[in-house]
Symmetry: C2
Subunit: 206 residues, 2 copies
């Protein structure tokens, strides 16, 4: 998240998947060796952010994401050739992933333990299916920006881990932008400073 | 600042000087013995926030604030009885204070070294007069929310010290809410965690 509250810049689309300027929010992560290895790139650094990146997935055994994060735009799925997202044959998730979409399709079984299940009946259904698949583990909301925002606004999130970057985007998708959020009570349970980012953890108090 | 970026809640006015829910943003400060003593109250605690509160004024020798922070609403000044703000006869500033207002009036000399000078010709003029009065020291923008916001948007601020509170207000005055801010470059130079608040310092890179 930028200091002005954006989790993606303005004008998100094929040219700017994170919005204009949005890549500044992910720079701390993309330079990490551990991230690059998981994403199939060489090189990278190991620093204080490595531990936060690795710990963020501890105990997570299922994932929910939006159609945009899986890959592709808002239209129906292309059948020929079939479009299997932009994460390659061996996606870095290695767990069941539930993709929110308006267009039904059969589940996709990828290499390395990742399966994509497509959910057309909304946030709560996706969460319910992910919970069942998680088998007692935690469910993470992977993103993108709009999906994270909807889950928080719907009160479906128990814990937030915000990677706050000293950048101002001036526009885009705000993580928090809903009068109803005033009723959400938070308790800060972690602050961790790494190069180019401050990691802020919050528990939602019920 | 709340986690959703507000420095005052919605519906600011006489009933809610900090907006609805805005007092949650200042709770960490108002419980401090050092704040209470300066404001003329008894009691209070000393904790990790005390040091941040005391250091925030180091080197500051002049202050700029908005009319609302001085006290009172947007109308002309009351002459009889004269209205000298809501900080009492011995305000806690002890330095020259420049108050932005649309209504001219003579300077006010208070006890304890505080003088209020009323500036009717805008932000840059107030800053210039404060710089001259600061005599080589730093000028702080005291607030309120709208005044801080205008100075940041105008590019007149060299350093930001943000006291980020784990609360969501859902509405009010955002500190950052301007597309032009995307050109401002920041460098984080401090992170300090205290009870109920995280203090984040940023230098504006020119």
């Amino acid at each position: 998240m930028s200091l002005d509250g954006y989790v993606a810049g303005p004008d998100q689309g094929a040219d700017h998947p994170l919005g204009v300027g949005g890549e500044r929010l992910h720079a701390w992560m993309r330079e990490l060796e551990v991230w690059r290895r998981a994403a199939g790139y060489e090189g990278g650094v190991t620093n204080a952010n490595t531990e936060v990146f690795e710990r963020a997935d501890d105990g997570v055994t299922a994932l929910v994401m939006g159609r945009n994060m899986f890959g592709g735009g808002p239209g129906p799925w292309s059948a020929d050739p079939p479009w299997n997202g932009w994460w390659g044959d061996d996606p870095p998730f290695h767990m069941p992933v539930f993709v929110l979409t308006h267009h039904a399709r059969e589940p996709l079984v990828m290499q390395g333990g990742t399966t994509f299940t497509f959910v057309t009946d909304g946030l709560e259904s996706a969460l319910e299916q992910a919970r069942a698949a998680a088998n007692g583990g935690d469910v993470a909301i992977g993103g993108g920006a709009g999906t994270a925002r909807q889950f928080i606004s719907a009160g479906l999130v128990d814990r937030l881990l915000i990677h706050q970057v000293p950048a101002l985007l001036g526009g885009g998708v705000r993580l928090f932008d809903d009068p109803a959020l005033a009723t959400l009570r938070l308790e800060q349970d972690e602050v961790f400073v790494g190069p180019g980012v401050t990691h802020l953890g919050y528990r939602v108090v019920r």
